[in-house]
Assembly symmetry: C2
Homo-oligomer: 401 residues x 2
Amino acid sequence: MQHAIPYGAADYFWAEALQRQQLTGNLLETFRRWGYGDAIPPIFEYADSLSAQASPKLRAEMYRFLDRDGSTLALRPEFTTPLARLVATRLHDWPMPQRFCYAGSVFRYVSPQAGRQREFLQAGVELIGASTPEADAEVLALTVAALRAAELADFRVVVGQIRYFGGLLADLKLSPEHEDALREAIDRKSEPALEAFLRDVPLRTQQRRTVEELPNLNGSRLDQIIDQADRYCLNYEMHAALENLRAVCAVLAAYGVTDAVDLDLTEIRNLGYYTGVTFEALAPGMGFAIASGGRYDDLIGHFGKAQPAVGVAMGVDRLLLARQRQRGEQRSPHPPPPDCLAMTGDDPTALAQVQRWREEGQRVQVEVNGRTPDDVIAYARKLGIARVLRWTGASFEEMEV
Amino acid sequence: MQHAIPYGAADYFWAEALQRQQLTGNLLETFRRWGYGDAIPPIFEYADSLSAQASPKLRAEMYRFLDRDGSTLALRPEFTTPLARLVATRLHDWPMPQRFCYAGSVFRYVSPQAGRQREFLQAGVELIGASTPEADAEVLALTVAALRAAELADFRVVVGQIRYFGGLLADLKLSPEHEDALREAIDRKSEPALEAFLRDVPLRTQQRRTVEELPNLNGSRLDQIIDQADRYCLNYEMHAALENLRAVCAVLAAYGVTDAVDLDLTEIRNLGYYTGVTFEALAPGMGFAIASGGRYDDLIGHFGKAQPAVGVAMGVDRLLLARQRQRGEQRSPHPPPPDCLAMTGDDPTALAQVQRWREEGQRVQVEVNGRTPDDVIAYARKLGIARVLRWTGASFEEMEV
């Protein structure tokens, strides 16, 4: 008989559980104020659906199991694909754009060495049926607004556009091995690897200059980076990527959020379904993104009529951790105490008073163990309960804790 | 490639998804006001843990799958066992009582013919480390309070005490076949089956009178039923069951909730881990319980040091369905509309105004598709959006929808 829980699973309780619920509620409420409507896809569905345009890594991390009719199910590893399926199969006749928000657990197998959770909480939005830079910018501005509403003090949203690198690759016409080498050098931001690539691969002067310049195309001076990148464009696709970014940045400026935004044209991770703007929210000292998102114009067409779309997913546990670190918060040494502990006996008058307090929003525990006042006070001290009230038959008397 | 979802899984969206999230938040907030603290166990854990004292039916309904290290995991079919494990293994050194509340999906395999969901949402509480009738009554009164706070107009909470029937069985000393026959006759409330049992099984006069009386021991006149049951007690165990019920009913009267409560001493379903008071909340016209709970004093000891405990689990989707039926609500024909739809262009002043409205709690959509005013108004009409605002360069002008 096992009494522990599997590696990568977690029990949340006390302040941590409360904060997790409250932050989730807070994020959903922010999303709703931007006009997004709740959607709740199932926790498991057909593995084939969930695999639609998932990266090989994400497919490998999915938890699969057999349904009793022999079909292969999987636990959702993210929300975007289930919502794409929902829109394409059930809501395609409704006017666009459609805006959805969600929060819930997602599941990915990670090896025990990784020290990461295999069930974790995501909250996010999908804006479907709009291909404009205004739509990209809305999701980016909402990401900033939601992280601010969540009281994360210090973060950056790093924005890329995978069509810039895509255009470059189209121009270079590399062998698969060379393409992998370039991709890895850029992805890892490795100067020696990039030098090695440039030594090994014969390029035209213009191409070579663009590849050499690529690692410099990032930072917080958005217009300047776009202008700089513009000088190294090799084709229409790269220009189009920059035109999109320029328009997105203009709307972000109108939203007043550019101070939280960096550009990075080396953002080329293998993102599976993304087709345009991509982004990550990063906090200092955190080795992983707190949120990530981007445009995915080809995913919904996998399930039905194509629709352009852009979205973001936030890691609620990562966001909580980053906030705790920034605030220098310590783990609470006991359960969050109620506002008071009331010794009522079975007196209807006392219980009615307790009920009134609860209806006013106070958190009131009633003593149900029949303990003496001394024992109740010792319990209250241990749990950090500041107020203990004792019914005298006519009113509550406050006891010294 | 599958584009549907498996039988018994569901997508929730629009008003249904919003109500589900809001009702869950509302239930948790009620629980917190009674001094319960949030706990979030994992969605999957070792199948052995989850099976601890599960009934054979529940075990058969569990979704099992292999972890990559070869251990058998399962999706949680309920919350009580994971929370019992949590308290016994990680919180046993903390003062009792401990109060926990939870909300989340649980998973049970049901055959497609049953027409029921295989993933459904539960919310509930566990009160651990208190064996008194006051503790039983707190969970019962909280059940009534939570269903009322959830605005369910019409429901009954039917309370049983399985020690009464347990005491009877101990006295009758039946063969396993006869015990099953009696259990089934009582459980199904079948008069012919009970007559057949009484024909087949030789009993002492006193025993026979008690078995014959059992089907009458239910209704809303609580004290009268207990007094009546008292006259047919055959041993201490049956008396103790009634003493507990009498004390529970006294506290329920003090809480002022007895008008919502029935007693039923034929409540003897095979409940797995229950050891005392058991109960179900029922709503007229619903063929299944909206909430169920009871005392389970032997479960926590399965994982560590024994602790008495009592709890309740509510079916959030069932509660929503019952409330919809009682209110005569129809399914909304479109997504819940935002408070307004604003045509802002990329004007910072307009977007700043929209942001102020959102911060005040209004739900504001921004037009991101670059459509003409006519197209935006047609969209708003289709979606039931009452207000469309257009930025004139200096202020918002309200357009006729």
